[in-house]
Amino acid sequence: MNLTLKAFVKKELTQALRDVRMRALMFGAPIIQLTIFGLALSTEIKNIKLAVFSGPGDAMFGRVADGFYSSGWFLRAGHAPGEDPYELIASGRADAALIAPAAGLARSAERGGGRMQLLVDATNATKARAVEAYARNIIAAQAAREYGARDDAALKFDVRVLYNPAMESSMFLVPGVMGMLVCLITIILTAMSLTREKEMGTFETIVSAPLSNAEVLLGKTVPYILLGLADAALVVAAGYLIFGVPVRGPLWQLGLAALALVVTTVSIGTFISTVARNQQQAMLGGFMFLFPAILMSGIMYPVENMPRAVIAAAYLDPLMYFVRLIRNIMLKGGDVHVLWANLGALGLMALLAAGLAYKRFRQTLN
């Protein structure tokens, strides 16, 4: 690395980190977000307010209801006698209501078909689906208990979950969030700081300095590549130390993946800065790229489940390759094919993006 460039990068880094608030945001924000993802958000649905409605003295139904409340997923939602279950759900005092058959559960079961009714507030479709699945299990278990242990189904599944046996949300979210955070920070910050220089006119000063185009570009972007990598390392360390997310694959693979992503995103940020005329435009342009990139990456929603056209578009999303890579490396220990296929694609994107950014950058300089 030549001396001019080294000094340039150093100056840019100092400038980016000079402000205490900026430092706090650069390194504090990822930790806050990671904590929110790791602690607050869970794909498991809990604390469902359930109200039960039955005739007097329906002991068997009472036992079914107890099965719900002792499962740990449901909370008791009280109601006045004679209240309408629909009304209860409409007012939000209950999320679900279980209603016994009019004749009493035990008696109608003897007659063949003790059919209870479950009303579920489906304003949240995923939650509603979970409530129904819980109810199915609880009622089946309770029925088995009532009619003797009839655990003799002719065909059963023995289910094993690999890589994340407890199905902890943090294991699933943290690697993805890492990609998202690095993307956010690098793209928007790079785009905004370069645009800021343009806006303030300091860019002209740099251009008139005895530096080559490549030196200016590298001097301006390398600091953000370094910052992005530092953030990536910080998030992995925090995930490992705070949430116990394993790093089963070798670290160099992780580093290589992060480098390829950061080079791509910083290049995209640079590209946006050559188009944007002010910082607001740079920020909005960044979001215009980030939102689809995050939604199509598979961090929260499986890509395979999307319409064909979106899947096709997802192949242009660097974050998708990165999320595949990082989950494979961290949770599965790294698979050779997955590693090289995705790293190859990501690397290619990095080269393309960097080339494009350089071309645009040179045009705006001259």
């Binding site: 498991e44 209870m116 949240n124 995923t126 065909l155 956010l184 928007i188 910082q279 319409p307």
Partner: protein, 372 residues
């Protein structure tokens, strides 16, 4: 100087701001383009019902029952059996070429025919929870279908239940996400745009200039914020149109009530944006702070996707301080349930208090910063 608040002066500031936005069509296009993109994505691309899960089948029986068992999986529409490579199904999971694997024992058909009990091993890729949880939910249904078709008789179910999903009977993912998008759009545009625009005035020093004129701070604030409020409401209106016309999301409640909820939340968001700009006075920092305190809570802690009730106790209380949580409750209540003001008293009251609080805080900080 006459009076504390002169509408005409505020209006002139607002007009200048509108011209400013108008002169920058790129920003305008992006600001209105983002809602379009979000609606399209959540409307078309994201479906919570996971389908076509690639299932690696290791069939060591190859008998007729095993074949039918496999068909039950593919007929469900949720699974797509794929050929297992020479390295075996677990290698398929390792490389991500399959998301689940099914192992059929060598004597599966014989046992089924003889009326014996069989256990099929089912292995799931747990590195993607959203998929794994959905697959687990499908298994009981597959088991019932298999029992009925393979073992001959459906198990006698003395006790059963029938589910009725209220407000969204088909569990349509769009009905669930699209009404929540208004919160994201307001959280994104109102907070970030105002934080940055006002921070820019400080950064350029033009705020000082503006303050030395006879225009009062309150008028400046109102004039600067009103156009952005209108822009954000335009975005929300657009989402409303698309969700009604394109996605057929019902609107069960009162439009007036919905507008009131939007206005309250917009006030809170604009005040928050202003507060951020006064504190930071620099666009980059304003943007970062706006993202952490505005966009992130709207997307993650509001109940948009992850229900607030499922969060740990601390977060259930903490989210009470966040306007988006209340707005989300009000918006879904009005749009899907047709709730009236009485039923939404708590969210509305909370929104009103938080909006007033934010506005007061922003005003106070703005004013104290004017003292020389």
């Amino acid at each position: 100087m006459n009076g504390y608040f002169d509408f005409h002066r505020a209006y002139s500031i607002a007009r200048k701001e509108v011209m400013h936005i108008w002169r920058d069509p790129f920003t305008l296009a992006l600001a209105l383009g983002l809602p379009v993109m979000l609606v399209t994505f959540f409307g078309y691309a994201i479906d919570y019902e996971v389908k076509d899960i690639r299932l690696a089948v290791s069939d060591r029986d190859k008998g007729p029952a095993a074949r039918r068992f496999r068909e039950i999986f593919s007929a469900s529409g949720y699974f797509q059996p794929v050929e297992t490579g020479p390295a075996g199904p677990v290698a398929m999971l390792d490389s991500g070429r399959a998301s689940a694997a099914l192992f059929i024992e060598p004597d599966f058909s014989k046992k089924i025919k003889g009326g014996g009990r069989v256990t099929a091993q089912f292995v799931l890729d747990g590195s993607d929870n959203s998929k794994a949880a959905a697959v687990m939910g499908y298994l009981p249904g597959i088991q019932r279908a298999a029992l009925a078709r393979l073992a001959g008789a459906a198990p006698r179910e003395p006790v059963s239940f029938e589910t009725r999903f209220l407000y969204n009977p088909e569990l349509n993912s769009r009905w669930f996400t699209v009404p929540g998008l208004a919160a994201i759009i307001i959280g994104l545009l109102a907070i970030l745009l105002t934080a940055m625009t006002v921070a820019r005035e400080w950064e350029n020093g033009s705020m000082e200039l503006l303050l030395s004129t006879p225009v009062r701070p309150l008028e400046i604030m109102f004039g600067k914020l009103a156009p952005y409020g209108a822009l954000v409401l335009a975005g929300v209106f657009f989402v409303y149109l698309v969700s009604r016309l394109v996605f057929g999301v019902p609107f069960a409640g009162s439009h007036l009530l919905y507008l009131a909820a939007c206005l309250l939340f917009v006030t809170a968001a604009l005040s928050q944006g202003l507060l951020i700009s006064v504190i930071t006075r620099q666009q980059q920092i304003a943007m970062q702070l706006g993202m952490i305190t505005g966009l992130l809570p709207s997307m993650l802690l509001s109940g948009f996707i992850f229900p607030v009730e499922s969060m740990p106790v601390f977060f259930r209380y903490f989210t009470m301080l966040l306007p988006p949580r209340w707005f989300m409750a009000a918006a879904r209540g009005i749009i899907l349930k047709g709730a009236d003001l009485g039923e939404l008293a708590v969210p509305f009251l909370a929104l009103a208090i938080l909006s007033a609080g934010m506005l007061a805080l922003a005003l106070k900080k703005f004013k104290t910063d004017l003292e020389p």
